[in-house]
Each structure stands twice: as structure tokens, then as C-alpha cells.
């Protein structure tokens, strides 16, 4: 099939870019640890350790090697999944991540699911109902509503949700992740802003596509509404929506750090804030690396899937 080649070339180029971004991330985290004030070994061993012990430890860790050698060793360890030892918890950082990541991942995925399931149908429906400047009150209400939601940062949203549902009404748990209902508030807090942004974008994109000649052509075939919107409209409206959706997902992974702290969620976000306050450098370094890598990979996947869905995006790229 001749369509395969441009897509493969595109995917290869994106993979290369991903590799470069990951390398940059590794270099940045490496530099950050070298720039940290004070002696990490001294910090790790405590003030009571003798100078010889510190020296020996330095040598053992390779901290006396030239910077490039250290970078190479560091990159090698990271690639093998060895992130060193937490200074505060005295155990492998990898184990801590393994414990904390699943809760964060569940939170993010659920929130993203909510975003997609609410924003896409909402945006398309509002576009269809307000097309050609009809029903201005509906359009106005939509713009105002999403605008208000968008201007409330997620920690305020989280705080408001806690106050309303957790405290005043007492319907839902406000901390921890013990029960299914524990997910409701954090997921809502995470999903609200991206939903508003994506719904707006979906509406704009849908309006743009609705004005295309090929939609009129599809109408002229008198297909059922389902076929018209799902088959003819959605794939064309999705390109920009998914691209931004990917970026929003990345931003959402960052937002979990904040939201988790409001809800005392046993995820990686609470871990990293504790680690920063406790100056647990290896742990911070590892969280930044892992979350960064996840965001980069997700964005790559979305781009590549888009390339399959909408072959024109490849042409535009190249």
C-alpha cells in the first residue's frame, strides 16, 4: 500500500524527536543534580559521617569521574530503570515509583476519559446547534460557561469541590483513595479545565468542518445523522482536537501533582512535593524523569495515531 511509506517516515521522524527529547530530559535532570547546593553524599550520609567515609562513598558513586563519564553512567542507569536510592526513605527510588505511579495513572486516565467523553460530544453538539449563527443564546451560554471554568485553576476547583461535596454536603470522601467514590472529586478537579478547553476547541473545529464543501456533499447523500457526524465530520474535526488533547493530557499529568496534594492522593504527586520539601534529590529527579517521559511518549502516540486517522497531517508535517 502506497499510504504506508509517508506514515512510516513520519513515525520514524517523530521517534527520533522523542529520543532527542528524552535525552534532553536526562541531561537536564543530570545537570540539576550537579547544581544542587551542598554535597549530596554528605547530605545522604549525615553530618556524623567521617571525611574518609564520604570520600569512599564519593568514589564508589563515581562522583570523582569526569562529568561526561558520569553523565554516561547516569544515562545507563536510568535506561535500566535504576534511579538510585531515596535519601529520606532509604530504599530504591524505583520501588517508590512502582508503588505510587499506579494511583496517579488511574487518576489521570479516568480524568482524561471524562474529558474526552464530555468535551467531544458537547463541542460537536453545540457546534451543530449553533451553526451559521443560529441560537445565539446557547452559543453565548456555552462560551461564558467554559470561560468561567477555564479561568478557575485546578487547585481552586479542587478546594471548591472539597468544600461543597466533601464538607458542606458530606456526600463524597475528600482524602485518600480507599473507595471508588474517592475518585469522584479528584477526577472532577483534574478534568474540569481541560474539558472546557477541549469542548471549545471541538466546537470551533466542528464549525469549521461543517462549513466545508465535503460536508455539504455528504449531506447531499442523505445519510443518517450518525453516519454524517461520526464518519464524515468527526475524523476531520479531530486532528486539532486530539493534538491539543495530547498537550492537555501532558498538562494534566503535571496538574495531578497539585490535585493529589489537595486530596492526599497516594500518588506520585504527593510524593514529589514531600521530596522537594525534604530535599530528597534522587526522588525528585526520578519523578521529573518518569513523568516527563510519560508525557513525551503520550504526545508521540497521539501524533502517530493522528497520522493514521488523517493522512493529510503527514503532508502538513513534511
Amino acid at each position: 500500500m502506497s499510504g504506508g511509506h509517508p506514515w512510516l517516515r513520519f513515525a520514524a521522524r517523530r521517534l527520533l524527536l522523542l529520543a532527542a527529547s528524552l535525552a534532553l530530559l536526562i541531561v537536564l535532570t543530570f545537570l540539576a543534580m550537579r547544581l544542587v547546593p551542598g554535597d549530596p553524599v554528605r547530605a545522604a550520609l549525615g553530618p556524623s559521617a567521617s571525611a574518609e567515609v564520604v570520600e569512599a562513598r564519593r568514589a564508589a558513586l563515581g562522583l570523582d569521574d569526569p562529568a561526561l563519564v558520569q553523565l554516561r553512567d547516569y544515562a545507563g542507569r536510568v535506561v535500566r530503570g535504576d534511579f538510585g536510592e531515596s535519601l529520606t526513605q532509604r530504599r530504591a527510588v524505583g520501588d517508590i515509583l512502582g508503588e505510587r505511579l499506579p494511583a496517579t495513572a488511574r487518576l489521570c486516565l479516568l480524568a482524561f476519559l471524562v474529558v474526552a467523553l464530555v468535551a467531544l460530544p458537547l463541542g460537536v453538539a453545540i457546534a451543530v446547534f449553533t451553526r451559521g449563527g443560529t441560537r445565539p443564546p446557547l452559543a453565548g451560554a456555552f462560551t461564558l460557561g467554559t470561560g468561567v471554568v477555564m479561568s478557575i485553576p485546578e487547585y481552586l476547583c479542587a478546594a471548591g469541590l472539597v468544600a461543597l461535596f466533601g464538607v458542606t454536603l458530606g456526600w463524597l470522601p475528600i482524602a485518600g483513595a480507599e473507595q471508588a467514590s474517592s475518585y469522584v472529586l479528584p477526577v472532577l478537579a483534574l478534568a474540569a479545565v481541560p474539558t472546557a478547553i477541549l469542548a471549545r476547541l471541538t466546537r470551533v473545529e466542528t464549525l469549521r468542518v461543517l462549513d466545508q464543501e465535503y460536508i455539504r456533499v455528504a449531506r447531499s447523500k442523505r445519510l443518517p445523522a450518525r453516519a454524517l457526524y461520526l464518519r464524515h465530520l468527526l475524523p476531520n474535526a479531530l486532528t486539532a482536537t486530539l493534538t491539543v488533547g495530547g498537550l492537555l493530557f501532558g498538562a494534566m499529568i503535571a496538574s495531578t501533582v497539585i490535585v493529589e496534594n489537595v486530596f492526599a492522593w497516594p500518588g506520585i504527586g504527593t510524593t514529589v512535593v514531600e521530596a522537594i520539601i525534604a530535599k530528597d534529590y534522587p526522588l525528585v529527579q526520578a519523578v521529573v524523569l518518569v513523568l516527563g517521559a510519560i508525557v513525551l511518549v503520550v504526545n508521540l502516540l497521539i501524533d502517530v495515531v493522528l497520522g493514521l486517522l488523517d493522512p493529510r497531517s503527514l503532508i502538513r508535517e513534511s
Binding site: T143, L156, A159, V167, R200, V217, R219, H232, I258, V295
Partner: protein, 689 residues
């Protein structure tokens, strides 16, 4: 100025909020820091009261005073963060515009790599190095902001750097500081200011978030985020303790954005003039104003939210773009002769009575199609001819029930295959239309859905309305494509439109309209932009459908030659009305309307040199907004009289000629009369000599 700056009441209110905030930055701490720091052990953790509207904190300090005092620190830190981010970002982002091509791409790639890493993660990393606290938070978030700012600057500078006068400046040896200061920076200032404002409000939110988490401003200092985390614990006792700082954060964020909008608008309205002055001073030829491209780049680069709100402006304006606002005369009360009754036998494929299409415009509504009545008999080939803007395509789309809001369609009667269209609703109407009527569209490049393979697009209608299965529908599509001489049709069906050449797409679009074998095909300019060979094939395919399946054809074209040779009956449209209807056989010799005759006179005959540009009718047709209450052709008509300029000629049956109608006060009596466009024709003759 007010309009240019887009000062809506909401925006004015936000600007007032912004002014109040700035006043608080200056006056807040001196006025209220006493109250804010006053420890009152008698009123620790008090609820809201007249003395303490937001309540008090754990030491009995008044929270309202603390919110007011915190304005200074919150806003100054946000400003510092945005300033740091932009200083770094703009410096790096301008590099590509000044460097050679190779270094430029290195810098651009590096910027892109940094942009890909989420800002909050960068901030966390930097915060670990610098340490927690206000300074750490500002540096961390500033660094995290820099890649975005760099990319924005780079995009903007590239759009300006590509402009001709910048290139010219380089050629004449303008040095780079001058290039930067005089040409690039002034032209990207407006979007940069806007983005700076957005970055400041983002920074405010992010700083508050860090303080809220305990990573930002540390006690004894406090900003809104720190107050929020204090207030959150006491949400259920004193909601205002948390709502107060929360509201302050949101309101300040929105107000800063509004301020940025207004400032950017002020700069943008001013920039073209200044830029022009500068260009003149530099002795360079002026180029197109830069405000537009920069605004576009901005729209591309701005957050989706900004793009969304921009696009949320009334979409109605767009389709009405070519209908210039103007005084719209009401449609005169003319009772046109009804379309001639269809001959007995099977019901007419299409019958519309008094069809009008209107469109809301800035002042009132415009009505580009007025009181058109037409019938297409069973198996008949009918043509509508007219210049662009005559309303013929709108008439065809309205007849096919394909016009959408903002177009409004009115008819006295609308029947498809003998069935009143509006007697049915929903699925019933959809099925009636799907089985009885197909449309072939004019622009093959935009008529195909770019995301779907041809197979889907060429079979779905037949599957839906002819109850074929996928295999049979594919066979039918291949057959249609073969008739149109598309090479390797089986293979083409597996391809996406962008993989096909323009000619292939044209054939595919035409085949697509013919796969249902309906009772009527409406073909809207199907041969425009085709070469003569393809045009012949398309007409032959339509003709075959007409001969073999008895499909009636309504052919829309500006080419009276095509209409005359293909159709049995011809409707001539001008200014949104039918001005003449006659059998195609009568067209060349017996047309009586001056416009029809002018159209005919403009057709090249065998002797005409084909390489010459075609002669055209002098003048241009009126736009929908200009349609007069009199004869729309009067301005271009050689026979126009006072009556023509005062009254609308009704469409009436022509005496003694069955099946013929004409709308003219002075129809030419017969073929011997001088051709109305003769004068124009003579002029052209002279030009040729």
C-alpha cells in the same frame, strides 16, 4: 478608538478591577499591614463578622486585610516571573531571526525540545536546585515559562523576518541591532504584550499553586496562595476565608488578561503607522501592513482558548461576506406566472413554486434568490444559465434542500418526484430525497472528504438508498468510474483523495453523484474548470444516465453553449430571478430577453479564434445587496427605458408561444430584431481590428 480597542462593558469592568489591583499594589501594605499583622488572641479563628468580613486566622489576624496586603506580593512575584521568562525566551527566540540557516535550525530544534517538556516539571527541577521559597518559585517558574516565550518569539520573528522589507533591509546592509529595534521588535510587540499578559496571569496561578502546596512564599510572608491554604482548612466554618483569596486569584488572572488584550489592541492599531513611517525613513518600498500576518501568527500561537473565543464571534458574518451591506429594497409585489404545468404521465422530478433564499446581513436581510418557480419533468434535461451571482447555484441547492442556516429558504410549494417535501419529516424526508435526488458538485478538490477512502465515499449513498450490500455498491461504483474513463478504478477506491490527481478527483466526484441512480441529478457547474475532453465525458455520462435510467437532469452552468447543447429546456437567471424560459431549440434564434441575447452574443462560434479571450457582457451583475426594485439588468441593457428603471418586469407567459416565459418590458419581437448587445459586439469587433 473605543471600537478598535473592542471595549465591551465586561472588559471595561475588568479594566476597572485591574486599576483597583494596581492601586492595591501601591497602597495596600501601607494602609492595611497594621491590621493584617495585628495579633488578636481574643478572636483566633473567628468566623466572618462585621469586624472581620473574611474571619481571622489562627493568630486572630484579620484575613480581609491580609488578602488586601498580599496583593502586592502576589502580583509583583507574578510580574517578576513573567518578566524573567520573557527576558530569557525573547532573547533566545530572536536568535533564529539573526542567525544563518544552519544555526537557526539548531536553535529552533532546541526550543522545540524544551517546549515538549511540561513546564511544571521543569519548575520542580529548578525549584530543587534553587530551594523552596519565593525566590526559588519565581526562578523556577520563570525558567519553565521561557521555552514557550522563545517559541512564540521565534514564530513571530520568522513571520516578520520573511517580510520583504526585512529582506531588503538586509540587502542594503542594515545592521542587526537596527534591524531588531526598528523592524522586528515593533512589529511583534502587540502579540508579545498579549502573551506577556497571559504569562503573567499564568504565573500568578502557578505561584499561588506553589505557595498553596507550601513550595512557594514561606511564612512570615504570605501571598494569596498561602492564604488560600490557610483558608481551606476552615472552609466549612468561614467559606470566605478560602473563597476570598481564591476569588482574588481568579479575578486578578482574568483582569490581567483583559488588560493585555486592550494594550495589544492599542499597539496593533498603532504599529502599522509607525512601521510605515520607519520604512519610509529607511527608504524602503512599503509592503503590505504587518498587522494582519502578525495577528494570524498570534491566533495560531495563542492558547486554544484564545482561538476559540476569537472564532466564537458571530459566524453569520462569514457567508454574508460578499453581500455588501446596503439598502435592501423590499421584493416588489409581482405575481410571476407559475411554471408551465408538467405534461401528463409520471410526476415531475422536481417542482418548486416561488422559491426565495435570503440571508441575514448587517442591515436587514438580503435576498439573492427571488420568487423562482421551476419544474423539471420526469426524465427531462433542464438547464439554468446565468453569470456568477445570478443566484443559479443557490437556487439549485435550495431546490435540493441542501441550504443550511444562515440561509433561509421559502417556497410556496416544493415537490420531489410528485411528493410534497415538507409533508414528511425526519427519516421519511431523508429517504425521499436520498432515493429521488442526487447532486454533482462543482469543486472536485473540496467535494471529497479528505479523511475517507474513495470506496466509502462512492458506495455509502447506494448502500443507504439502493439497499445494495458493500460488494454490489463497489461494483456499481467501479462501473461508474469506468464510464468516466478513470484508470484502474478498483485500485483508486482504496485510496484517499490526496493520493489522486486533480483530474481523477473530478471524475470521482461526478461518479459519486451518479451512484444512486435517482430520478433527478442536480449538477452544479459540473464542467467548470475541466478541459474539453473531460467535459465531454462528463456530459456524456450524464446523458447516459438520462437515456438509460430516465434520470432527469437539472444542469447549472454559466456556459450557455453547454446548456444549449445538453438541455431540452433552458431557464435564464439574472439578479436572483428567472428572466426567460424557453425550449433549447428556440434559444439561438428566438430568445427575446435582452440578457439572454447578450449571453448568446458572447458565445464564440465556429469562426471565432479560440485563443482570444471570450467577449463578455459589459458591466457586472448586481450583488444580492444591490438588487433594485426595478429590472436588475437595466444598468447593462441597451433597451432600458424609464419604465425598466422604475418597475420590476413580471415573469409572464410569452404570447402565442406555449412553454415560454419572459420577464422584460421590451422583449425583442423576433429574431430579426437587432441583437440587444449589438452595440457592445461592434465595439469588440473594432478592438479586434
Amino acid at each position: 478608538m473605543r471600537e478598535r480597542l473592542d471595549l465591551t462593558p465586561g472588559r471595561i469592568a475588568l479594566l476597572a478591577v485591574l486599576a483597583a489591583l494596581l492601586a492595591l499594589v501601591v497602597a495596600g501594605p501601607p494602609l492595611w499591614s497594621g491590621a493584617a499583622d495585628e495579633i488578636d488572641t481574643a478572636a483566633m479563628r473567628a468566623g466572618a463578622s462585621a469586624a472581620h468580613p473574611f474571619g481571622t486566622d489562627q493568630l486572630g489576624r484579620d484575613l480581609l486585610a491580609r488578602v488586601l496586603v498580599a496583593t502586592r506580593l502576589s502580583l509583583l512575584l507574578a510580574l517578576a516571573t513573567a518578566a524573567l521568562g520573557f527576558a530569557l525566551g525573547v532573547a533566545v527566540g530572536l536568535l533564529p531571526a539573526l542567525l544563518g540557516p544552519r544555526l537557526r535550525s539548531v536553535v529552533a530544534t532546541t526550543i522545540n525540545l524544551f517546549v515538549a517538556i511540561p513546564g511544571l516539571l521543569l519548575a520542580l527541577l529548578v525549584a530543587t536546585i534553587v530551594g523552596i521559597g519565593a525566590k526559588g518559585a519565581v526562578i523556577a517558574l520563570g525558567v519553565a515559562l521561557a521555552p514557550q516565550a522563545a517559541r512564540l518569539t521565534q514564530t513571530l520573528a520568522a513571520s516578520v523576518g520573511g517580510a520583504e522589507y526585512v529582506a531588503a533591509s538586509r540587502v542594503v546592509g542594515v545592521r542587526w541591532p537596527r534591524l531588531l529595534g526598528r523592524h522586528i521588535l515593533p512589529n511583534i510587540a502587540a502579540p508579545l504584550v498579549l502573551q506577556f499578559a497571559m504569562a503573567t496571569s499564568q504565573a500568578l496561578l502557578a505561584l499561588s499553586a506553589l505557595s498553596f502546596l507550601g513550595l512557594g512564599v514561606q511564612s512570615p510572608d504570605y501571598d494569596w496562595g498561602a492564604l488560600l491554604s490557610v483558608g481551606l482548612d476552615r472552609m466549612y466554618v468561614t467559606p470566605m476565608a478560602a473563597l476570598g483569596p481564591g476569588l482574588a486569584i481568579v479575578l486578578a488572572g482574568v483582569a490581567i488578561n483583559a488588560g493585555g488584550d486592550v494594550l495589544a489592541a492599542a499597539i496593533a492599531t498603532d504599529a502599522p503607522q509607525r512601521a510605515r513611517r520607519r520604512r519610509r525613513a529607511a527608504g524602503l518600498a512599503p509592503s503590505a501592513t504587518l498587522a494582519a500576518p502578525v495577528a494570524e501568527a498570534l491566533a495560531d500561537e495563542a492558547a486554544p482558548a484564545a482561538a476559540a473565543s476569537a472564532a466564537a464571534a458571530p459566524a453569520a458574518a462569514a457567508p454574508a461576506a460578499d453581500a455588501a451591506p446596503g439598502d435592501v429594497p423590499a421584493a416588489p409585489a409581482v405575481d410571476p406566472a407559475p411554471a408551465p404545468p408538467a405534461p401528463a404521465g409520471p410526476p415531475a422530478a422536481l417542482r418548486v413554486e416561488r422559491l426565495s433564499v435570503s440571508l441575514p446581513a448587517a442591515e436587514g436581510a438580503v435576498t439573492p434568490v427571488r420568487e423562482v418557480s421551476l419544474t423539471v419533468g420526469h426524465g427531462e434535461r433542464v438547464g439554468i444559465v446565468g453569470e456568477s451571482g445570478s443566484g443559479k447555484s443557490l437556487t439549485a441547492l435550495a431546490a435540493a434542500a441542501l441550504l443550511e442556516p444562515p440561509f433561509a429558504v421559502e417556497t410556496a410549494a416544493h415537490e420531489i418526484a410528485g411528493e410534497p417535501l415538507f409533508a414528511r419529516a425526519g427519516t421519511g424526508r431523508r429517504r425521499l430525497l436520498g432515493r429521488s435526488l442526487a447532486v454533482v458538485f462543482q469543486d472536485p478538490l473540496s467535494a471529497l472528504n479528505p479523511a475517507l477512502r474513495l470506496r466509502r465515499q462512492l458506495t455509502e449513498a447506494a448502500i443507504e438508498h439502493r439497499d445494495l450490500d458493500a460488494g454490489e455498491a463497489t461494483e456499481a461504483a467501479i462501473e461508474r468510474l469506468r464510464e468516466l474513463r478513470l484508470t484502474r478504478p478498483e485500485q483508486r477506491l482504496g485510496q484517499h483523495p490526496h493520493e489522486l490527481s486533480g483530474g481523477m478527483r473530478q471524475r470521482a466526484v461526478i461518479a459519486m453523484g451518479m451512484t444512486v441512480r435517482p430520478g433527478l441529478i442536480v449538477a452544479d457547474e459540473p464542467t467548470t474548470a475541466l478541459d474539453v475532453a473531460v467535459e465531454r465525458e462528463v456530459l456524456a455520462a450524464l446523458r447516459r444516465a438520462n437515456d438509460e435510467d430516465g434520470t432527469a437532469i437539472l444542469l447549472i452552468s454559466h456556459d450557455i453553449g453547454v446548456i444549449a447543447s445538453f438541455c431540452e429546456r433552458v431557464l435564464v437567471m439574472y439578479g436572483g430571478r428567472i428572466v426567460e424560459e424557453l425550449p433549447a431549440a428556440d434559444l439561438r434564434e428566438r430568445a427575446v430577453h435582452p440578457y439572454t441575447r447578450a449571453l448568446l452574443a458572447a458565445v464564440p462560434d465556429m469562426e471565432t479564434d479560440r485563443d482570444r479571450p471570450l467577449p463578455t457582457i459589459p458591466g457586472r451583475p448586481p450583488t444580492a445587496a444591490e438588487l433594485p426594485a426595478s429590472c436588475a439588468f437595466a444598468a447593462r441593457c441597451a433597451f432600458a427605458s424609464e419604465r425598466c428603471r422604475a418597475q420590476q418586469p413580471p415573469l409572464v407567459a410569452l404570447d402565442g408561444a406555449p412553454g415560454r416565459r419572459v420577464a422584460c418590458w421590451h422583449p425583442a419581437p423576433d429574431a430579426a430584431a437587432p441583437a440587444p448587445a449589438a452595440a457592445a459586439g461592434d465595439e469588440r469587433e473594432e478592438e479586434r481590428r
